[in-house]
Amino acid sequence: MTGLPAIKVEKLVKRFGKTTVLNGIDLVVERGQVTCLLGPSGSGKSTLLRCVALLEEANEGFIEINGTPLGFASGPNGERVRLPAAETQKVRAHIGMVFQQFNLWPHMTALGNVAEALVTVRGMPRKDAEQRAMAQLSKVGLSDRAGHYPSELSGGQQQRVAIARALALDPDIMLFDEPTSSLDPELTGEVLNVMRDLAESGMTMLVVTHEIGFAASVGSKIVFLDQGKLIVEGKPEEVFGKPRHERIDQFLDTYLDRGAATLL
C-alpha cells in the first residue's frame, strides 16, 4: 500500500445540468504532499474537491483513496459500478474536510463539535471523546475556548475548531475548500499557520485556495484549473517561475491588478 498514491482521480467528469464543470480531470496526490488547486472562479476546483469528499457524485470517471475505489469501481468492461454504502463510508473515513463557511454546528460548544463524531459515529464514551477533542483543540491553540459556542468565536477560531473536528477522527487525507476566503485578512494568518503545521507533520492535503503565497511556500504541487480542465501542474517554482504558462500569467496579473501592483 505504501507505493499507492493517497488520491488518484481518473478522467473525472461532472456536469450540472447542461454545464460541464469538470471535463476529464486526471490528478494524483502522493502521500504526504500538499497539493494546491488554483484557478479562477467557475474553473471547477471546488467541485473537484467536493467530488473527492463525495459531497458531489461525478458523472464519469473514478476516484481512488489509498488505492481503494471511492463510491464507484471500474467494472470488467470499464463501466462504473456503484459500491455499497458501507464500503464507501469506510473509504471516506480516511478523509477530513474543511469548508469555506466552517459549518460548525451552532448548538454544540467547540468541544462538542470536535467530540461529536467520536461519540456518534465511532461509539467512543463521551468522556474519552472529550479528552481526545480537548487534545485536538489545544493543537490548534484553542483549549481555552473549548466551552464556547460557535456564535461566541471569531471566524478564525471557528475555522480552527473545524480543522480540529476533522482531525479528531484521525484522517490521513485533509481536504480544504477555500478555508480562508470568508475571513478577514488579519484572521487568515492564524488559520494558515495551523495548516502549515499540519503540512509539516506530514499530512496529505488537497487545498483549494486563493492564497497564492501559501500555495507557493507550503504547496509541494500546484494544480491550475480553468474551465473544468487541468491546465498546468508542477512544483510551485515551475508553475510560478519564468517562463510561465500564458494562462498563469493572466491569472497572476489579476492579483497584481487588485492594487498590489502599486506596491511593486
Binding site: Q101, L104, W105, Y149, A166
Partner: protein, 222 residues
C-alpha cells in the same frame, strides 16, 4: 344590570373543572399535532414523490378551511363513514389533525432553513441519515422554530373554544351555559377572556424563557 361577581364565584368549581378539560385537550392536541406534523413533514421531504403529492391536498384542505367547519363535519359527518366518536375524542382528533397541518408546514420551513453545509459537515465525519437527523437537524430546528411553534401552540389554545359547538365540556361551553342560564354573558365572557389570556401569557413566558436559554446557540455569523 350589574356585574354579578358572586355568580362567578358560585360557579368557580364548574369553571375550574372545564378549565381542566380545556388544558388537557390543548396540551394533548398540540403535542400530538407536533408529532404528527413532524411525521408528515419528514414523509413529504424524504419519502417518495407520490407521498408528498398525496399529503399536499389534505394539508392544504385543513389549512384552507375554518376549524369550526372541520370539527362540525368530523363530529356530525363522521357517523356517515362509520366514524362515531364521542365529543371529547372527536375534539382531540380534530385538534390533532388541524394542528398537524400547520405544524407540518413549520417543520418543513425548518428543514429548508438549516444551512446545507451543516449537513454536509455531518456527512463528512461519517454520520448516516438518522444520526444527522437526530444530532444535527432536530436540535438546530428546535432553536430555529421555537418562536413560531410557541405561537402556533397559542393559536391551538384559542381553537379549543370552538369545540364547544360539539358540546365538549370545556371552558367556553361551561361559561356559555352559565350565561344562558342566568343571563350573565358579560360576567361569563369577561372571566373567560381573562382565563384564556392568562394561559396564553404563561405559554409565551415559557417560550421566552426557553428562547433565552437557547440564545447562545444562535447561528454563528460567518
Amino acid at each position: 344590570m350589574t356585574f354579578d361577581l358572586d355568580l362567578i364565584i358560585l360557579y368557580l368549581p364548574d369553571i375550574f373543572r372545564a378549565l381542566g378539560v380545556t388544558i388537557l385537550l390543548w396540551l394533548a392536541g398540540s403535542a400530538l399535532g407536533i408529532i404528527l406534523g413532524f411525521v408528515v413533514a419528514v414523509a413529504r421531504r424524504y419519502g417518495p414523490r407520490w407521498l408528498d403529492l398525496a399529503l399536499f391536498a389534505p394539508v392544504e384542505l385543513i389549512r384552507g378551511t375554518p376549524f369550526l367547519v372541520q370539527i362540525f363535519l368530523l363530529y356530525y359527518g363522521g357517523p356517515f363513514i362509520g366514524l362515531s366518536l364521542d365529543s371529547i375524542s372527536a375534539g382531540l382528533l380534530g385538534l390533532t389533525i388541524y394542528g398537524a397541518a400547520y405544524y407540518s408546514e413549520l417543520w418543513r420551513s425548518g428543514f429548508v432553513a438549516i444551512p446545507k453545509g451543516h449537513i454536509e459537515a455531518a456527512q463528512c465525519v461519517g454520520f448516516n441519515r438518522t444520526q444527522t437527523l437526530r444530532r444535527i437537524i432536530l436540535p438546530e430546528m428546535t432553536m430555529l422554530l421555537l418562536p413560531s411553534m410557541v405561537n402556533m401552540t397559542i393559536l391551538m389554545l384559542k381553537e379549543t373554544a370552538i369545540l364547544s359547538i360539539i358540546s365538549v365540556p370545556e371552558l367556553t361551553l361551561a361559561v356559555s351555559a352559565l350565561g344562558t342560564k342566568h343571563y350573565a354573558f358579560v360576567e361569563g365572557f369577561a372571566i373567560l377572556a381573562l382565563i384564556y389570556w392568562a394561559l396564553v401569557e404563561t405559554c409565551s413566558a415559557m417560550g421566552r424563557y426557553a428562547e433565552s436559554r437557547l440564545s447562545k446557540y444562535r447561528f454563528a455569523a460567518s
